[in-house]
Symmetry: C2
Subunit: 403 residues, 2 copies
Amino acid sequence: MGETLHQEAGLLTPDDVKARREADDPHSPVVRFGADKPLRLDAGVDLRHLQVAYQTYGQPNADRTNAILVCHALTGDQHVASLNPVTGKPGWWETLVGPGKPIDTERFFIICANVLGGCMGTTGPSSTDPATGRPYGLEMPIVTIRDMVNAQAMLLDHLGIERLFCVAGGSMGGMQVLQWAASYPERVFCALPIATAARHSAQNIAFHEVGRQAVMADPDWCGGAYLAQGLAPHRGLAVARMAAHITYMSDQGLHRKFGRRLQDRVLPTFGFDADFQVESYLRHQGESFVQRFDANSYLYVTRAMDYFDLAADYDGVLANAFRGSKTRFCVASFTSDWLFTSADSRAIVHALNASGASVSYAEIESDKGHDAFLLEEPVLFDIARGFLDSAARAAGLPAAKVR
Amino acid sequence: MGETLHQEAGLLTPDDVKARREADDPHSPVVRFGADKPLRLDAGVDLRHLQVAYQTYGQPNADRTNAILVCHALTGDQHVASLNPVTGKPGWWETLVGPGKPIDTERFFIICANVLGGCMGTTGPSSTDPATGRPYGLEMPIVTIRDMVNAQAMLLDHLGIERLFCVAGGSMGGMQVLQWAASYPERVFCALPIATAARHSAQNIAFHEVGRQAVMADPDWCGGAYLAQGLAPHRGLAVARMAAHITYMSDQGLHRKFGRRLQDRVLPTFGFDADFQVESYLRHQGESFVQRFDANSYLYVTRAMDYFDLAADYDGVLANAFRGSKTRFCVASFTSDWLFTSADSRAIVHALNASGASVSYAEIESDKGHDAFLLEEPVLFDIARGFLDSAARAAGLPAAKVR
């Protein structure tokens, strides 16, 4: 579709065109599953012509037992530990993943795939629907966290990875970790769910609904068909991102970082400009987000999180999701995270205890809120390193190099 | 302007027309101050032709010493204890204000005025600018909490109330209470600031900025001139209200009230309808709000709250705002209020203690979040009643009737 793209582009900015190209032809390896290998979705329909885009880091060992699947959060992608080709920024988890890092690329074979419903090469609403030759838009069926995990399982089958040494992720990535452990216990030696929950809370559904309404209120959303019309609901998506971004930080963190300090001025302007630094920061977050993320993907992926309630699939008893599991778990939360609270993590730990699973739990002191899992948090790094070293010994993997 | 209004109305709905009429000719008594009595604003300009709309309840005593000024919150109005003519609903604080209630209309003379910048009859952006004959829109100067209080002081002068027995209010109403006590200590015998703060936090500024951006992103906002064009940014304002409404409740309260329960259905629809009750509730909050509130007023009044930092006017030392004050204070907060936290209230109490003022403080256990101050909270009622009874005795007012 390379040739027709520019002709159709109309009011799309170069960034939109790039984003749309990324959906079908990303700067990543892709696996394309034929119509004979459909993905049966929780919504009850088959998704044919599934495409999964992914990145790998490090090398598999001879018997392919050293693989770690990293699952990304709402607006993350497969570029976990290398330059992101769309933003030009470092990978989103280079704090934790890399040579000599806790998730050590010299020791483990790390795989990260763009989630189903995303916009970075795995099938999502901005992908071309092979049946019509146009972007799916709202014709894309709703996907769930379990659907995302099943798509990842198809990727692993393709890569010849029968069993993962570890599945790790934060936030929505942590939801996928829990779903992996529940759906495929025999394929997961150990699991590291961070800053996450076994079900999305009413407050979190409410914030997501605000974001979706902001997108859908933008006339340029065009009922979801904006790409075909050469438009993009940038204003609505920026508002959605701004609201969400507040929930990723803590009251204390915002106070420490910005307080009531004014932006480039001594006195307030008595107007609606971004007088306060926190306003300017938020606006920047909104504006830069719309350059890299598809609005319909935002609707689909937030919806997948809303629908997540792991216990619901197990008679309402979360422990049943893990009954008999031999997977080793390490659960971590941050004290100032009010989006995925320590109480949410403790509920996971209680269920794991009740199911007889092996679990350790760390509540990490931090004022960085939910985003702490992405930031420089040495206690998290120490915990992840210790957990993975211990699990690697138990799995018969070679010890880490002494540095 | 009654005759021309309909001709100009264009795409305005009947509700918009009603709202606009409310701005100039509300269902309330109004005081109109002539050009010879301008209000000097913090922004450094004079507002001429100030109009203040208000309601009173009960009767002044012979020496007019039994007056209580009630200050309303962001989207409140003067209809504190009687049917609201716009919404057809009861007054917003009938839980606390009425015959035999803690703020007893059989005992006190209660005054409540629509705030400066509002849309219910006091001069605001939807009022007609006498200089042009058109709505002010963004030509209205920015107002502050102190400007609001100064406008109320002009109203009290007009009503012949030299000294208030009490000033009471929650949230932004509480900010006005604190400003009253600081600006006019000799006019305030006692003060009841509830669920408020002496300065707006970075997180709260951030949430307000999201709301303003949602309004301004709506093409029907028309750069603020929507009324002149017969439009109204209802979609943007509804999104702003939805985001704000989440901050008025608590995580626990939302969980208790809605949890993950679905709306009118047993199974999720796998779509973007309001599947969850909490989504349907939020959408309703957004839709009903836009029928009663002017979008530009929302910008102005949120901005006034953002600019509020009482200590800043007193060399950064909040205690200096109350130094030498003889006013009696009762401060109250709610444990689950994360918008105006108990820590915010304790900061007020510490400053009052440091200034040597008389103060009592109650932190009230509740899972209803910030909105608790508007709801059925018997502990608040008991505290308010006890505080006002005791202050009334000290002020030499007759004791309450035994019921």
